[in-house]
Amino acid sequence: MIRNYLKTAWRNLLQNKTTSLISIVGLAIGICCFLLLTTYLINELRYDRFNENAGRIVRLTYSYQSPDDVAATHTALTPTAPVPVFKQEIADVEDGVRIYNYTDGRPAAVEYGDKLFSESKMLVADQSFFNIFSFKFIKGNPANALVDPSSVVITASTAKKYFGDDDPIGKILKVNQTNNLMVSGVIEDVPAYSQIKFDLMGNYAIMPRSKNLKWDSANDYSYLLLKPGMPVAEVQKKIDAFVKNRFSGEGQTNHIWYTLEPLTRVHLHSDTADNLDPSGNITYIYILAVVAVILLVLACVNFLNLVTAKSAERAKEIGVRKVMGAQRIQLFIQFLTEAGIITLCSILLGVFLAYLCFPAFSTFCGQLVSFDTWRTSWLISGTVILFVLVTLLAGTYPSLYLSAFKPAATLKGKVSGYAGGNALRKSLVVFQFVVSVFFIISTIIAVNQLQYIQNLNTGMNRDQVMVLDIGGMPFNKIMAFKNELIQQPGVSGVTATYDSPVNVQGGYSINSVEDKNSDFSLSVTAVPVERSFVKTMGIKILQGRNLDLSDEQQVLTDDYEKRKYGFILNETAVKALGWKPQQAIGKRIGLNGRMGFIKAVVRDFNFTSLHEKITPIVIFPQYDWFGKLLVKTNGKNTANTIKQIQASWHTFYPDIPVNFHFLDEEFNEMYKNDQRTGDILKAFTIVTIFISCLGLFGLAVFSTKQRVKEIGIRKVLGAGVFNIVGLISADFLKLVIVAVIISSPLAWYAMSRWLQDFAYRVSIQWWVFASAAGMVVIIAFITVGYQSIRAALSNPVKSLRSE
């Protein structure tokens, strides 16, 4: 019996090549996308779970609010004290570790023999690190690998890079010319699904601050290992009580608190700033899961549609089989078998496509995903489940529908397939196009917004600015280097700052303000700069004067107490202090103990992501520590200018590899996630349009076949080609327009939500919907048009005779 089912199913598949091909290709693409997305989701959901202690590791985050702040600041960075103090004072805490991102924004120069590399992923951690987290050691012992303050554990690829096939254990790596670290362990490369990613792991003890426990100045990431079975909420209560007790009295004005986050929730659920690893977003995970299912359903819909559309052709066969004694269940199984064969072909093709797509998809989503992400048993059972599910999803309705035909009616030729299930078929086509139009509209809006961001005047001139990493270098050498660069023909300005000007992070507070109470305190962002910063970056001064030589000399005096700082504030900061720009000039303020006067007020400029509104910022001269050298080039013959800059760098710093990028790149990098959203939308748009058009094409083929006689008669009666094309296309175009009407408000709502995340955003305009509608109507017309034109041009006599 089953052989008979398979045989007829196979023959049917071959007989109807066009529809079979459309069904299989459509389904295969749906399955391919489904596989790619689920693999990505698995990767996101298994984040950090490889740690054996994952269930009892928590991350500590730090929140504070000064009395004059509008809102609290939440950061993943913590001071040095909490971990050791909590470990000692709170019984439920078994262990803890502080981690510092040693190469945060400033790569480290690492030297071994004649090999010199610039490392950007080096962390340092307390020696308990490898006891708390589970990294696989190839050489060395996790229990004591970090005991020695000058030890370093490296990954297998790093070991290969420096030592080739030699045994790395005991070898000395020289970090930033100062620290000689001895390799004490080699681990397997850190998986991409770990929030703690590193190539080198040193001991926290090499940080000078490790010796003093402080409750301010947050620079480290803190993780605690709770005793087994301790609920996080319980420990949280004890820590809250402890912190409250510790910071009561003694004139505390700031409100501070610590929050415990379970390790496995950090990646997808945390919304604190300054994360060690760019965090995912659980909302995106849900959205992608929904999209994966929708794509799969969309592809099943094609299949379902084509089978029911072809039901008229099958009706006679069904009648005959019933008369021969076939029971409904037997026919049901027969049609399900046919669906199963199509599904099987599609899954094979889909898996193959996914296999081909994984490398590109990995680059696309910035994570390494492949079939290796799956456990083999999962992959196999997943495929089987997918097979059963898709077969049932695509096969059940048509099979039920077909097997229910009454034999007498079908043999009399009374079942018109076109009438039967017509409403359903139309709704399904509308559904497909609702999804397509939704993606088209969303993509147009997203692309628009990204362009808007790129072209927005941020109040600062980012063009042609090279950023060189100079973290940790003595300032007088930097100044000499600067003076040399400024002589070069292609260079129009050089300045230095602590932070990159498109992403200023430093949290400070303004106090000791003239005319204000002594306990006034306002949290602000602030950035130490070299005096020509404002001019080089093209920031507009509204009132007052730029920093000059005298300001420079002030901050170069060795006696900190005597320095008089010249501060530059933005408009927003001045407003927050309750002044007009002209009133602000000359006012005395303090910035975390630095006393000075407001020298200038500048026009607001965006110094962080455009997701955020502009907040108060203070620009002040401070030469003790620079992170970035900003070189403004004139844009002519840039390649040559870069070469000259590199050459001078080598004469100044022969031991340090040069690291540079353009400010514009860094700016765009900040919107990588948004860019990715845009790219993903584009990809989905193409896929959904393609799948929907496949379905539409199949239906058009079918319906013109059904209407051959009608078309013949109409032609004989004098209808022109144009009438006929209009007749056939109109049916489908109506459906597409209904889809546009349903889809527009949905897309409008979704994209309004997405845009909410940007402080600077485009408004959604009517032309977006009009052009999406125009686009999909044209695409649908091209899909259907070919069929209808062919039908319209066919010879009517032929089609009538064939009846």
């Binding site: 019996m1 007829t8 005959v320 089989r321 029971q327 037997q330 043999l411």
Partner: protein
């Protein structure tokens, strides 16, 4: 073998009932060869479909080998015609995707006949109808007469007690028609198969042992030979 009592069939047409079969009572004994005649639209096919349980009467009682068909569930009904009835159609109604061999085999598959047995039975049938050489062809590759032979072979394969044939020769030329009629007559006489056929041709009708004339859904006349 079968008995129809006060059978009517009507279609609802704009409020009033449109009778296609109007109060027909009819008994057919085992071994009879009945020809049904009448003008187009007089209800011949409808009557045959009711006898074959492909269609349900609106009113009346229908007995088949002592079962009350009007009370049977669909499954039981299917079992009945699997066991007793073979259909032959004017338009042959072969399954286009199956070969001659497979078309003939199909009823056996639905009756759960074992593979080896099926082979023997189909081979026997091919032999009997002298179409062994055509067994791997598809219906589209046969002439009308050959297709109808296959149709009859398919109807006979499960050894039915009753053959229902709706204008079996309607699409054939007179020579082919004659051959089919000879075959029916032989089956009726030698194997004792009961046959009910619908036909337009006086000549073909006379192969039967009884001729029933229908007019507007009523039996106008009935002659036995």
């Amino acid at each position: 073998m079968l008995s129809l009592q006060h059978i009517s069939k009507y279609y609802q047409a704009g409020g009033n009932k449109n009778y296609v079969i109007n109060d027909i009572s009819l008994d057919v004994d085992e071994g009879e060869f009945v020809s049904i005649m009448g003008p187009s639209g007089s209800g011949k096919s409808t009557l045959l479909n009711i006898i074959g349980m492909l269609d349900e009467p609106s009113e009346g009682y229908h007995y088949f080998v002592n079962e009350a068909v009007h009370q049977l569930k669909e499954k039981k009904r299917a079992a009945l015609y699997k066991q007793y009835i073979g259909f032959v159609f004017q338009a042959y109604h072969l399954i286009d995707e199956l070969t001659v061999y497979e078309n003939i085999e199909t009823p056996l598959i639905y009756q759960d006949v074992k593979g080896s047995e099926r082979k023997a039975m189909v081979a026997d049938m091919l032999d009997r109808f002298q179409i062994v050489g055509k067994k791997d062809l598809f219906p589209a590759q046969l002439s009308g007469g050959q297709q109808q032979l296959v149709g009859i072979a398919r109807a006979l394969i499960a050894k039915p007690k009753l053959i229902l044939a709706d204008e079996p020769t309607g699409n054939l030329n007179s020579k082919q028609g004659e051959e089919i009629m000879e075959l029916f007559s032989k089956l009726n006489k030698e194997d004792g198969v009961t046959i009910i056929q619908v036909t337009h041709s006086e000549k073909n009708a006379e192969y039967g042992s009884r001729i029933i004339n229908l007019l507007d859904g009523r039996i106008e006349s009935s002659r036995k030979f």
